[in-house]
Symmetry: C2
Subunit: 398 residues, 2 copies
């Protein structure tokens, strides 16, 4: 039997993160690699109670449901989004199997082979993987600590006439940066002028560190919405409740949402009814905002610990900045160091990270790495940093 | 803002079934439309106990997991498949968000625009939707009560050199037919000779009626497997446990499975960890086979009741046959009757079915309909058939 795979298959590179995740499940290494939340802070007792309520609701809770998602959950999310300056109805949203699926579905209904998508430099690697699988041409926009550089964005909008711009303006994966208000407003204005749709990926928006009075309003909230919005917004419960419930959502103009629902019918008919019902009960009977605040504080502590440890290293020629939120430190090593090679040494020494190369759409910087600070406790973080330090010694000239 | 949707979008017709499902959630009509299992028979207490065990396993159960699926669940499914004559390891399988996702992922890695896919006539409408969305050219093979007609299959293999053949050999959706052993073996032989991969969709295999000694071995079990198999096999817990846990699986040559896993990373990273862990606990501590036998008997009762009611109608020029298993009756009305028009009348009278038109890849028969017999209890079925009878009176010449 000769298998005849599609041309498309060659575009699916296996994600470095997922491959490493496999590795770390097997070996007793300390991983700063995966974007894993701290499982000891999952509200498991509350999830258990929520599930009991689902069972009491009766057997219908385990039946097939609507492709668009369980209506009471969509209503709860709509109410919850009001505190983020977003006013939508359940018809303007779709429940997805994690926000990863929202990226896939929007690409499916919006992008043909050869269409251009603008992305940040660097950006989320699994989004790049999706875009490539649909044959999109990826163009990076210069990105600094405040977001996409507007002059470069405008030049690339004019040059490439992209259909879509994919951004993570609030606590970027991988950099932890947050866009300034000026860049947010400027990006919306420019993209609207050029009829370029923005996909705003916001998994980390709730995990803000530092000055509580500083706000980072979503692009979706800043633009007219939902009707005629030039922004499609996606978020998830994976970082605020638990990834195992595999539930995200996407909001936007109802025409876009309807079309994404049609694509979702083909993709998987619907997301898990059980997860959706459980999350609905959790949102109704549990202090989710209180829990998020608790997790946020814990992650800020872990971030500060890792910042302290990084500072202590005094690695020559190594640059990093304190993330404003989210889950990651982004570290730039001296030119010439290849962090993919370094990873092998690191894993031998019992520690893992993600080499930065996968986060670039083009002209990858081989001397970068992403470090997760949310998953390990204080002790493991100290040990992991000691091991990483040994690995770094093999490539840094002191 | 002018939205610029992909060309692909025009291929996503909204599924008639899903639209009707929406309708029936709103109105108090009796629905023979959706392929819904009987929710009163879901093993909800056992699912509840399984979930409690998951919670006891600790917080890690709610963390991100492997794209390939929760290993203990894959191991359990492998052991369970032995009674179906299938011997595979967890590396030869992937957990999916329902078997619908298996259809989508295989198409994604195997089919380019213009590639030909052979299908039965008629066949599962949501598979047609997936194939069309990837730009496949669909060709129907003549199909009778015993399966694909081998002469027509051979002619079409030669004429179209298809990459894939999609089949539901055991209790077809929509017809309830089961292929004979001769057709099963003949199809494998012919497809192997022409290097055409077979996607065997088997959601209903456990729901067999009539003579218990008659066996319908899966194509996958009849072919060499998993290495070098010309069959990729998919099934689901939706019909044997509950659809709300949204978990299916796919088995095949490990190269195909690895490639499907790469596509799944992009599509949704992984399926619900909670659902997978719950199903693992259920398979370990619950008599799943006993439960399946109970459900099978219940469905056979319901099938016989509906057969009795259909017989009693004596509708002139209307043909149907008793299904050998599964969930559906397939009814052919006199030429010239359009069941899509009839559906409007039927819904006004308080009953729904699926017009057959959507189950054809080409040259649709407009005078067909699919009736589900598993979802309604005896009383609702009687009332629904009375209503359907009134609707039929408007189109049948007595």
């Amino acid at each position: 039997m000769n298998y005849k795979f599609s041309e498309r298959l060659s575009t699916f590179s296996s994600s470095a993160v997922r491959e490493i995740l496999k590795l770390t499940q097997k070996k007793s290494i300390i991983s700063f690699a995966g974007g894993l939340p701290a499982e000891e802070h999952f509200p498991v007792a509350a999830i258990g109670e929520a599930f009991e309520r689902v069972v009491k609701e009766g057997n219908k809770a385990f039946q097939y449901g609507l492709t668009e998602g369980f209506l009471p959950l969509r209503e709860s999310i709509c109410r919850w989004m009001v505190h983020k300056g977003v006013t939508v109805t359940p018809d303007d949203m779709l429940i997805t199997t994690g926000s990863q699926q929202a990226i896939d579905l929007l690409t499916r209904i919006y992008i043909d082979k050869g269409d251009v998508i603008l992305v940040e430099r660097p950006t989320y690697l699994s989004a790049l993987q999706v875009f490539r699988s649909y044959g999109a041409t990826l163009v990076s926009v210069e990105t600094d600590r405040d977001g996409m550089v507007l002059e470069d964005l405008e030049a690339k909008l004019k040059q490439y006439r992209p259909k879509l711009a994919y951004v993570i303006p609030t606590f970027s994966n991988p950099t932890g940066n947050a866009w300034s208000l000026e860049r947010r407003l400027g990006t919306i204005k420019l993209c609207r002028e050029h009829d370029t749709l923005i996909l705003e990926d916001d998994p980390y928006g709730e995990l803000k560190f530092g000055d509580a009075t500083v706000k980072y309003p979503s692009l979706f909230s800043l633009d007219q919405h939902p009707n005629g919005s030039c922004v499609v917004y996606t978020s998830t419960f994976s970082k605020t409740v638990a990834p195992g419930l595999r539930t995200g959502w996407v909001m936007g103009d109802p025409e876009i949402i309807r079309n994404m629902a049609r694509a979702k019918q083909a993709a998987d008919l619907q997301s898990s009814t059980l997860d959706q019902q459980t999350l609905y009960q959790l949102m109704t009977h549990f202090d989710l905002d209180g829990h998020i605040e608790f997790v946020r504080k814990e992650y800020e502590k872990r971030m500060r610990q890792m910042a302290q440890l990084l500072k202590g290293q005094n690695w020559p020629g190594v640059n990093w900045a304190e993330p404003k939120g989210g889950m990651f430190f982004w570290v730039e090593l001296p030119e010439g160091v290849n962090t993919s090679d370094l990873l092998k040494t690191a894993v031998d020494l019992g520690v893992a990270f993600v080499p930065g190369v996968s986060f670039y759409a083009e002209e990858s910087k081989f001397n970068t790495m992403r470090l997760n600070f949310t998953h390990n406790d204080a002790e493991a973080t100290i040990t992991g940093m000691e091991r990483l330090s040994k690995a770094m010694d093999t490539v840094l000239v002191k």
